[in-house]
Structure formats: structure tokens, C-alpha cells
């Protein structure tokens, strides 16, 4: 029987959250940036497979960093 592997449970994988279109828009205006200026994440990235993210969506990453608990980072989904 093949084992079911949950990528989200791995110690190296931080929590990924999909932002709604409104939240993403609010983010762009808050930092006064355009989507093209954002760090990217591939649409085929294993960590966002279950979020059903489309190209152009924004993913919020809650990193468990050594300098800050739940450090927030954003990545935009790009076509592969």
C-alpha cells in the first residue's frame, strides 16, 4: 500500500495560505508595488498543490524563523 505523504507536515515546510483577490489587492496598495515586483512561487510547487492556486494568486507564507515567530512572507504564483 503506498504511503500518503503530507508535505505540509514536514519540518522544513512553513505554512502556506492562499490570499483572496481582495486581500492581494490590499497588499499591493499597502506596499505600493505591482505583482511583477514580488517574489515568485511556481504553480507546480508541491507545497501549494492542495491550495488550488491559480497563476497570479498571492500566497502568504508563515515562516517559523529563528528571529521571528511566524514571519510573514508573500509570493506570487507564476506559470512554470
Amino acid at each position: 500500500m503506498p504511503k500518503t505523504i503530507k508535505i505540509q507536515d514536514h519540518i522544513l515546510v512553513p505554512k502556506h495560505v492562499l490570499l483572496t483577490k481582495e486581500e492581494a489587492q490590499a497588499l499591493f496598495s499597502k506596499y505600493n508595488i505591482t505583482p511583477s515586483q514580488m517574489p515568485m512561487i511556481s504553480a507546480k510547487d508541491p507545497a501549494i498543490k492542495e491550495l488550488n492556486a491559480e497563476v497570479g494568486d498571492v500566497i502568504k507564507v508563515l515562516r517559523n524563523s529563528q528571529t521571528e515567530k511566524d514571519a510573514v512572507f508573500f509570493r506570487i504564483v507564476k506559470a512554470d
Binding site: 503530507k6 514536514h10 522544513l12 507545497a47
Partner: protein, 388 residues
């Protein structure tokens, strides 16, 4: 009441600092006024510690890595403990990480096992044997050629077979599956390998004999050595060779803690964010093993820069340095002529927006006080003062 006080400082201080203060306040039994004083002082310190706009953090990071780099060992191999698994360390390993090499010189994994198995030495050994890549010559005692029948005869090592819980017919099956153009069959304790071709020459048989030694029989491909090591009450399997994808599929393996030092394998299996985390982990390990100290923020900054594109890009001319917009900046790194010639052919423009190209042209660099530009409103039109 106190909770409200801490809430006021959210956003002004990091969550981690606030939590530490909370714990300390409880222990010391501080009053509300005293707590406020502490928080106010911390906020002041925190604000002064922040990097100011226009600070050249890239150069700071480069220096912070460069200086300890000179003190690192150039000795490539080190044998981890009593174990015979060797790992690349020091400067060569750091270069490997920062260049984001696809083929690293000593891939290695740390395989954690599920709670039920991890403390039982016998079970751990069994799983380790299951993971290790076994080739035919490891379970055979003798390879010989029968000249009259023109076939290869392989004498199997019965003890090894027992250890690996293998049966001769399973070995023959693996040979048939993984070797082309031959037919393997069991004859008592021997395995007979014959070519399928009509014409059969001695030379061909000899080739089969040599080839068959390296045929993959069982285990996980790429894992050449396994070594159970005790680590805080439980056993961890350290390996030479890495194959994250196949190893985490094994039933007894704890897939949530198993890691590899190969950056690209982590990227493929767990994604960019995990790959970033792995870059930090690996770089920090190298630096700590050498008894040096580089602030984690520098390492995090490099890891961020390497992973912004969604995959890992090394600090090489084919990686992030090659993506710089300015021709002069690219030319200053490696292979200058190539970049300059190509840029001239296609008529590239350089906006002189960054540091190195302005240094070359003897102009003020856009850093620190050189960053802001003066904008004045003229009498009739809004004029923007050009660069000096």
C-alpha cells in the same frame, strides 16, 4: 489589563521579543508601570537596531561571509564521528551551497524513523538494510563463465541473502527486470545468466559477466551507505547518497523529519520555501561546524535572494548575478568581454541605477545619502534635477 499593554506593542516589536518579555515579567513579578518601561526601552533599542533605508546590505552580507570564509578549512573530507560516512565541509561545501550546484560532492540524508521503530536497534538495522542500494556483486561470492554452455554462473552468498531477506528467484527476477538482453534463471544456489541473442560469443558472455556485477537488485537507488546512529534516545540512519523522494515512501520512515543535504531534491519534493529553509540550515551547519559565527540574517538574506524566482538560483553568472539588469554590473562579475560584446551587438542600455556601474564611472553610488534625489518645483514647470 496587562494583555492590552502587550497588544499595543504588537507590530512595533517582534512577536518573539514580546513573548520573551511576557515570560520574564511573570518570573520577575514586575508591575504594570515597570513592564511599560521595559517595553518602551526595548522599542527604542529595536528601532536603532533596524537597518536604515539605503544601507548596502548585500555588501554587508558578502563581507560577513567573506571574512570567516578565509578562516575555514580547505580540507574537503571529514569523517563524521566514528562513522565511515564522509561529508564535504568548510569552504568547498559553502561554495557548493551558494553556487546551488545540482550535483553535490557528498550527498547525504538523515533518515528518521517512526516512533514505534526508532528505538529498536534490530528494527532500525532491518530498515537500514532495506534502504541500502544492493548490487549483485554485494550478494555474490563468485562470478564464473561456463565455457561449454557460454553462460555466466553467479554463486550467491547465502548469509547475505538471509540478512536481506532475499530469495534466489527474487534475485533472478530483479536481474531480468533491470538488465537488458539477458535471461536469468535459478539453478540450485546459483543464478544462471544467458544472453537472449542468437549468436553467442565468449566476448559477449564476458561483457555480461562484468555488467551483471553492477545490476541493481534491491533497496533505494542512490543510497550507497547506511549507518544507524544514536541521537537522543532514538536511532537515526545517516546515509551516503541521497534519494529523498523514494526514501520517504518507505513505510517505517518518518517523512516529517527526514532531510537531505541536496538542495534541489528538497525543492522538488517539498517546494521553494522548504528549499530556502534547507539553504539556511546547511549554510549555518557549515559555519557552526567550523566554529565560526555569522549572523543568521545574512544567511536568510542570501537564501531569500537565491529563491525569489521560485526555484533555486546560485550566485553564479548563470544564476542571480547573470540576471542583473545592468551590463556593466554583469561584466564586473565574470567573463566581462562576453557580456560587453553581446550587449554592444544588441544595443543594450544601462540606466546606471545600481552600485557597481556608478563606481566604474566615478559617480556617486545610490546608497545611504547618495540614494535620495533632489526634486524641486520650478516656477512654471516641475523639473527634476538630473544626476550630478
Amino acid at each position: 489589563m496587562e494583555e492590552q499593554l502587550f497588544k499595543d506593542y504588537e507590530g512595533k516589536l517582534t512577536k518573539k521579543i514580546i513573548e520573551e518579555v511576557k515570560a520574564e515579567v511573570k518570573e520577575q513579578g514586575l508591575t504594570k508601570d515597570q513592564t511599560k518601561k521595559v517595553l518602551e526601552y526595548l522599542k527604542e533599542e529595536y528601532d536603532t537596531a533596524k537597518i536604515s533605508p539605503g544601507e548596502a546590505i548585500g555588501i554587508l552580507t558578502a563581507e560577513s561571509f567573506g571574512e570567516p570564509g578565509t578562516q575555514m578549512t580547505l580540507n574537503v573530507f571529514h569523517f563524521a564521528g566514528v562513522a565511515e560516512v564522509s561529508v564535504t565541509q568548510g569552504l568547498p561545501r559553502l561554495i557548493e551551497i551558494l553556487d546551488a550546484r545540482k550535483e553535490i560532492s557528498t550527498p547525504s540524508m538523515e533518515i528518521y524513523l517512526k516512533k514505534g521503530v526508532s528505538k529498536d536497534m534490530a528494527e532500525v538495522k532491518r530498515v537500514a538494510a532495506l534502504i541500502k542500494e544492493t548490487k549483485l556483486n554485494e550478494i555474490a561470492t563468485e562470478f564464473s563463465i561456463d565455457l561449454t554452455k557460454l553462460q555466466v554462473e553467479v554463486q550467491l552468498n547465502q548469509h547475505r541473502l538471509k540478512d536481506l531477506k532475499l530469495k534466489p528467484d527474487q534475485v533472478a527476477e530483479a536481474l531480468n527486470a533491470n538488465m537488458k538482453g539477458v535471461k536469468a534463471s535459478v539453478n540450485g544456489e546459483k543464478i544462471i545468466i544467458k544472453t537472449k541473442a542468437e549468436e553467442n560469443e565468449l566476448m559477449e558472455t564476458y561483457k555480461i559477466k562484468e555488467k551483471s556485477k553492477e545490476v541493481f537488485i534491491k533497496g533505494v537507488k542512490g543510497i550507497t551507505q547506511v549507518l544507524p546512529v544514536k541521537n537522543n534516545e532514538e536511532y537515526v540512519i545517516i546515509t551516503a547518497g541521497s534519494n529523498l523522494k523514494d526514501v520517504i515512501e518507505i513505510e517505517e520512515v518518518d517523512e516529517t523529519r527526514t532531510t537531505t543535504n541536496s538542495l534541489f531534491e528538497v525543492l522538488k519534493v517539498f517546494g521553494v520555501e522548504a528549499a530556502r529553509q534547507n539553504i539556511i540550515r546547511e549554510a549555518q551547519r557549515v559555519i557552526e561546524d567550523q566554529g565560526l559565527d555569522v549572523d543568521i540574517r545574512h544567511i536568510m538574506f542570501i537564501a531569500d535572494a537565491m529563491t525569489t524566482s521560485g526555484t533555486i538560483k546560485g550566485i553564479t553568472r548563470s544564476g542571480i548575478t547573470g540576471e542583473k539588469k545592468s551590463v556593466l554590473a554583469r561584466a564586473s562579475f565574470e567573463t566581462p568581454l562576453k557580456h560587453l560584446i553581446n550587449a554592444s551587438i544588441i544595443g543594450e542600455e544601462d540606466d546606471l541605477n545600481s552600485v557597481i556601474e556608478n563606481v566604474m564611472l566615478n559617480q556617486p553610488v545610490p546608497l545611504g545619502t547618495g540614494l535620495p534625489e533632489l526634486v524641486t518645483r520650478g516656477k512654471k514647470e516641475t523639473a527634476k534635477e538630473g544626476k550630478k
